[in-house]
Amino acid sequence: MTTNRHDHLVLTDVSVVFNGFHAVEGLNLNVGQGELRCIIGPNGAGKTTALDMICGKVKPTSGQITFEGKTLNKLEEHEIARAGIGRKFQVPSVFHELTVRDNLEVSYSKSPGVFANALLFGRGADRDGLEKLAELVGLENYLDTPAGHLSHGHTQWLEISLLLAQDPELILMDEPTAGMTVQETSQTVDLFSRLKGKHTLIVVEHDMGFVKEIGEVISVMHQGKMLAEGMVSEIEQHPEVRSVYLGSGGISHA
């Protein structure tokens, strides 16, 4: 909290190589505290890989990632999560065998130690809060349903609510609206707009409509590099961005 608002998350010259393939090359990204940043780009631009590196799933080959002044490169996934970074995956990742309530219970991880949890019974200390969360995302009637029985849309909402229960400083969202209806997508926009300010959000999206509706600073990635950064209108006018997206009929139709 004490760090500069503008340097909440900083990626400096970050690269990652998979068997000689440069998935991300010399990426620079600077996200301020409380900002809602969208990252767009064509398939294979390295958007998901960028998120993977921030949350520790992939270790960068070179460069530096810092969060609140702390270097993340060498940390394990759980240490990064404890530092205050949460992640929503492209393919909704929840615990299928556990009920919605238990899913939320697991994601509420303020004290992640083994022995603290071995002595924690009743699981009801913050039940009200978790039930309110379920209500917020419209899952209040499914609390005792195994997550594996939920529809795709509901699973997406469940994972979003898991992140809210985890309550990290920085939330990484990988295509949160994939498979959602138009109505659900606009609900998501509402939710994100409310989260902005309290949390820092980085949203990777394909859906240009969604990104426009959010209307914040957009970062465009292409072939593992940062191509452009700016507001929607600036991005739409950007010549390089236009040429990259030309194949798919311009950015408005991407």
Partner: protein
């Protein structure tokens, strides 16, 4: 506490009570000893259910912990026989036969029964923590965990057989004194031993249940379900898995100590591959995701094995019958007997509770058809 948990505790309590009441109907010492043996194996199955059923760690080396516990108890009970067998300052008989002249240093502390009981649990736990950190820090999962644990079991087994001078080798440690604790003597063929074991089973069962009902137990189930995902919530998966592995080893070591008491010896077969694999079968038959199911699975399977192999009719076919039973259970009851019972209970309760899940939504949708004829 949820209704489900209350129901579970009630079921566990009833079974434990039934086990404790057996001696009121049965006073044949030989049969009680046999039952006590099955109960000890039930505790061993609880241990595996905890690591395999709840944490998804298929430990094929469970018998290593069991055997270490068994030897710890046997060493203590052996030392108590010394004045009787080989004179005042004498050595255990097998050491004399192997020309050992002084008692090895690691035998010394076993003069204390308290130490032996402590070691019977602590040695397997320490062993499990070391092996577990190595496995889980290295993110070894699935079938490779099974292979490593099996290999570790074989190593411990060979080591014990090889060190005949200190361990009795193939023969194990025999001719033991009877356990004396709190002024009671636990003769293997007595009510007191049966009660000791029945109470131990109850304690182990409820202890393991408490572990699964804690938040750590829930996190272990989440790890079983989707290990990767758990990391991103800030939990150190390796530590949680090592914890489950070690608690399971501790319970298995405890069971091993009891086994020495009922069998009146310790043998390398107690940490044999065959026993270790049998535990997996018991858990599969009883239902590995239920602690009680696993315990009952062990009791039923070993009981059946005992009854069939002793009866004259099945003398030659009993292994076939057992094999056939396993195949049937695995094919038709993937969650074991406990899973089948749970399904039945769920069905009965579902009828009363209007659960707003898919089935009711689907029923609304098919409202028209259902008037014409209930779609099934």
């Amino acid at each position: 506490m949820s209704k489900r948990t209350a129901l579970q505790i009630a079921a566990y309590g009833i079974v434990c009570l039934a086990i404790l009441l057996v001696p009121s109907f049965m006073d044949d010492a030989f049969i009680l000893n046999k039952y006590a043996r099955y109960l000890v194996l039930g505790i061993l199955a609880i241990a595996l259910s905890l690591s395999w059923g709840y944490a998804g760690i298929l430990n094929l080396g469970q018998a290593a912990s069991f055997g270490l516990g068994s030897y710890a108890m046997a060493m203590a009970l052996k030392l108590r026989t010394i004045p009787v067998h080989t004179g005042e300052a004498g050595l255990p008989d097998f050491m004399v036969w192997n020309n050992v002249e002084t008692l090895p240093w690691f035998w010394e502390p076993f003069y204390s029964l308290t130490f032996a009981i402590f070691a019977g649990v602590a040695v397997p736990v320490v062993f499990a923590v070391l092996l577990g950190s190595f496995i889980f820090r290295g993110r070894v999962t699935g079938v490779y965990v099974a292979i490593i644990t099996l290999a570790a079991l074989v190593v411990v087994n060979l080591l014990i057989i090889d060190q005949q001078r200190f361990s009795g080798g193939f023969n194990g440690i025999t001719d033991l004194a009877q356990l004396e604790l709190f002024g009671l003597t636990f003769d293997a063929y007595s009510m007191s031993s049966y009660y000791l074991i029945a109470i131990s089973l109850t304690v182990s069962l409820f202890f393991a249940l408490a572990v699964t009902k804690s938040k750590a137990g829930l996190i272990l189930q989440a790890i079983r379900d989707h290990e990767e995902r758990v990391r991103y919530f800030g939990y150190d998966v390796a530590r949680f898995k090592t914890f489950a592995f070690a608690v399971s080893a501790g319970i298995a070591g405890f069971a091993g100590m009891l086994y020495t008491i009922v069998m009146e010896f310790a043998s390398p077969t107690f940490l044999g591959v065959q026993l270790s694999l049998s535990v997996v079968i018991w858990c599969a038959v009883g239902g590995r995701q239920s602690l009680l199911g696993a315990a009952l699975g062990a009791i039923v399977v070993t009981g059946m094995q005992g009854a069939l192999s002793e009866s004259e009719i099945f003398l030659e076919t009993w292994t076939l019958i057992m094999g056939f039973t396993f195949v049937v259970v695995v094919l038709f009851l993937p969650k074991g007997l406990a899973g089948a019972i749970e399904m039945l209970v769920d069905r009965i309760f579902r009828k009363d509770d209007a659960v707003p899940d898919k089935s009711s939504v689907a029923a609304d949708r098919c409202g028209v058809e259902s008037k014409a004829g209930a779609p099934r």
